[in-house]
């Protein structure tokens, strides 16, 4: 187990390296001159030169790349032209709201999605299953930003019930969380349902039934634990969607997280910042995948890992 963990952690590094390189190249291809855009239209040439130097754009590309790589282990994510300094502290400052949003989304997903899937599986074929499946496919089809707009329109504009701006209080989490997690709830419900169905037919469940154990005990102790494994995997797989979806939702709700920071930085032409945030997103994704795999390995001891 320990070797597996170490192996997985070690593997992140080359992957992260390639990701960082890809992102670096991608953002060097952006047309236009970021130094001039940041300096503003009326700046003198000397100011533009100055900013270009600050951003490191006056060096050849391999030098820029090497400097960038050198800076990463020291926590330097690039020089932000707007914040006039290392992008990393700014990004870290904007992390908590996003983490809060993601955390509450995952919580909501587990609290609603899993029970929904179980109920659906236990009622296979009848009206309850049908209704839940309908809701599920509906939630998978609605664009999350539109859902957000409708929620704002209903709960904040028409009826002043909930806040729709910024991270003002814990209550402000409600609407953005609903908007972000709708899709994930649907995916998890569906996944839980099918894995429950599969598990309920497995041999050991049949054996337990044959031995005469109480039905609920079978369901809640044996089937559930095994059904949750694919759920965990699903949540991990959907992490990419969560991260992406939060960007659009943060924009809609003026949520002060890294999604909004990214959109604002794109608008302000602060590409080093955008690059830094993309790196953070990707590393975050890698870490989530790693955690999911590790949890999976712990929970399901029957896995063979090479």
């Amino acid at each position: 187990m320990l070797t597996y963990t170490l192996w997985r952690i070690a593997r992140i590094i080359p992957v992260a390296l390639v990701v960082v390189t890809l992102i670096f190249l991608l953002f060097r291809m952006v047309p236009g001159d970021p130094a001039r855009a940041i300096a503003g239209s009326q700046a003198l040439e000397s100011t533009v030169e100055q900013i270009r130097h600050q951003l490191g754009l006056d060096r050849p590309i391999y030098v820029q790349y090497w400097n960038y790589l050198k800076g990463l282990p020291r926590g330097n994510l690039g020089f932000s032209g707007i914040y006039q300094g290392n992008a990393a502290p700014v990004i870290i400052q904007h992390l908590p709201p996003t983490l809060a949003l993601l955390g509450s989304s995952i919580l909501l997903t587990i609290l609603i999605g899993v029970p929904a899937g179980i109920v659906s599986a236990l009622n296979r074929g009848n009206a309850v299953d049908y209704v839940i499946s309908l809701l599920v496919v509906g939630m998978l089809s609605i664009p999350n930003f539109w859902l957000g707009m409708m929620l704002i329109s209903l709960f904040a504009v028409s009826y002043h019930l909930l806040p729709s701006f910024g991270f003002s209080s814990a209550l402000a989490l409600v609407l953005p969380t609903l908007a972000v997690s709708a899709r994930l709830v649907a995916v998890v419900a569906r996944m839980t349902r099918s894995s429950m169905l599969e598990v309920l037919q497995r041999d050991y469940v049949r054996t337990a039934r044959a031995k005469g154990l109480n039905h609920s005990v079978i369901v809640y102790k044996h089937a559930l634990r095994n059904a949750l494994i694919p759920t965990i995997t699903t949540v991990g797989l959907q992490a990419g969607y969560l991260l992406g979806g939060s960007i659009v939702i943060e924009q809609l709700f003026a949520w002060p997280g890294i999604g909004q920071l990214m959109i604002n930085s794109v608008g302000l032409r602060d590409f080093n910042m955008v690059q830094g945030i993309t790196v953070i997103f990707s590393i975050g994704f890698l870490v989530i995948n790693l955690l999911v795999d590790l949890v999976y390995a712990i929970v399901n001891p029957r896995i063979e890992y090479r």
């Binding site: 992102i23 930003f145 504009v157």
Partner: protein
Amino acid sequence: MTSLTQPNEPDRQVVAAARSAAWRRNLRRMLRNPSLVTGGVILFVFFVVAILANVLAPYGGNAQDILHVLQRPSWAHPFGTDSIGRDIFSRVILGTRYSLSIAVLSVAIGAVIGIPVGLVAGYFGGRLDSWLMGFIDILLTIPVIVLAIAIVTVIGPGMVGLVVAISITFAPRLARITRGRVFEVKEEVYVSAAQALGGTTRRVMTRHVLPNSFAPLIIEITLRAGQAVLVGAALGFLGLGVQPPTPEWGTMLSRGRDYLQLARFVVIAPGIAISLLVLGFNLFGDGLRDIWDPNG
């Protein structure tokens, strides 16, 4: 299903009869699946609307009447008029073309790139497979929206950027699925038999492996098309995407944000349109999965 020897005439007829019976059975199974039928009907309607858009739209997509901005829905304008007096109903109908083309094009290009890669990786296995999958895993690390934003920022606004961005994010996923399926199919008897009979690699891949991998691929493509609609709309919502006055649904939603209080109807129709189209793809894909791959 593929015959391994050259059959003689009567056998051929028997096989042909059995095949058409199988087809009819499949068709009946399909028609009995509510998801497939509903999804199919929805998609059919959208495709028809897209093709006949110019005929169906009562006004042009850019016919402005600035003396009548923000009119509530009425007989003359079933979905109301927008901030410069354009008929929203017409714009939603015309917008079908953009959303459908973005979805279909992106998924098609993604398939054209991803499927061969997956085929090659799965068939040859070994080091080639490790390298390809490693690269794909890395591409998959960057969340779809983030990668799309980055690509559109680099390429610039417009349909081209959107389609490229979405295809690049889908190709790896399709490659992965193809490769997985190829692994399964490789173990099948008829493949080794075809190889034993001296088929070239390409022949074996295209004649035997690929046709038997179709099912999960088509399911995946259908579901991805739905997601492409969502990603395209999200990018339009963020302001990256088509140029005005193109009637794209996501862009219409983005411009309608400030009107939630004054004229909510401006954002209702495009949102429902997006949801319905994606629903169509989802239902159809689910239906296909029920029939072809119930354990997948």
